[in-house]
Chain length 139, copies 2
DNA sequence: TGTTATTTGCAATACACTTGCAGTAAGGAA
DNA sequence: TTCCTTACTGCAAGTGTATTGCAAATAACA
């Protein structure tokens, strides 16, 4: 786990605990955004003693610190989390058949956001843009 | 409730029941997409005898028949439904403060979908694009 | 090493949604 | 109109994800 992350946690008045490090460490190694349950499963496989509740609480804290991004994939009905460090803003596509998740390294929404703010008089905070379909193997 | 809808339901081998008509009727009058609980509340206010489970089951059926669209707003953690009849494909923006939901009568994703299919070799089925922010009153 | 506020684990709870099943009713056939 | 089949409904119970309360544990600072 990167020293920079530890410093940011302490700078926010939070503690670098055994479980928090374990959660971040799994997220650092993840190839796609993980659900709390998946993360918990990986920790158990590594024999890390941790409660699922603690996973949830750590994810919430890390999201509040801005170290982790929370996202909802299209019609999946749960949250997923991925580490922010060193990653551009991006979106995802998920296979409706096998559940495989792939990053889309793009975001076409900057101009559109300005247009929406002008049209609706809302101030836009966030957006979610997620695709689903069928991956090459499942077509 | 429109005759066309009744015909489509019967054509699919489903029945035009008292409760199904009530559900559709509320959706026809809705100004924004409703959650199952909101829909149930409106039916109770109209003294329609119906169980929440029946609301869920009817929404599922109507979605399968293609008469109703199911959507997830940004980080809300529940589904919402709106009637499809006479409405273009569109997206939404939701106020993070008061929950107000406004339609966005646009979709910038046709070209992007083609690009994503080319890049990922997925076949794109659906997408979700939802915005959240602060409405004029809550700014 | 001691102090204290943060964090953890366990149990209980909340909430959206689903399932099983017996009884009800829509709607085509007679 | 009446009958019959099968979709549909209501009630109760069950999932699965996420949250909360509280006493015990522990990180971090002096």
């Amino acid at each position: 786990m990167k020293t920079k992350l530890k410093d940011e946690i302490r700078a926010a008045g939070k503690r670098v605990t055994r479980t928090r490090q374990a959660v971040l460490s799994v997220l650092e190694g993840a190839k796609y955004p993980l659900s709390p349950t998946e993360l918990y499963g990986q920790l158990q496989a590594q024999n890390v003693a941790i409660d699922l509740v603690t996973v949830y609480r750590n994810l919430t804290t890390l999201k509040e610190l801005g170290l982790v991004t929370q996202l909802e994939l299209h019609q999946e009905g749960q949250f997923r989390y991925e580490i922010k460090e060193g990653r551009e803003h991006h979106h995802h596509i998920r296979c409706k058949s096998c559940g495989r998740i792939v990053d889309l390294l793009l975001c076409p929404l900057k101009k559109l956001t300005a247009f929406i703010e002008q049209e609706t008089r809302f101030v836009v905070g966030d957006h979610s843009l997620e695709f689903s379909g069928w991956c090459p193997k499942c077509q």
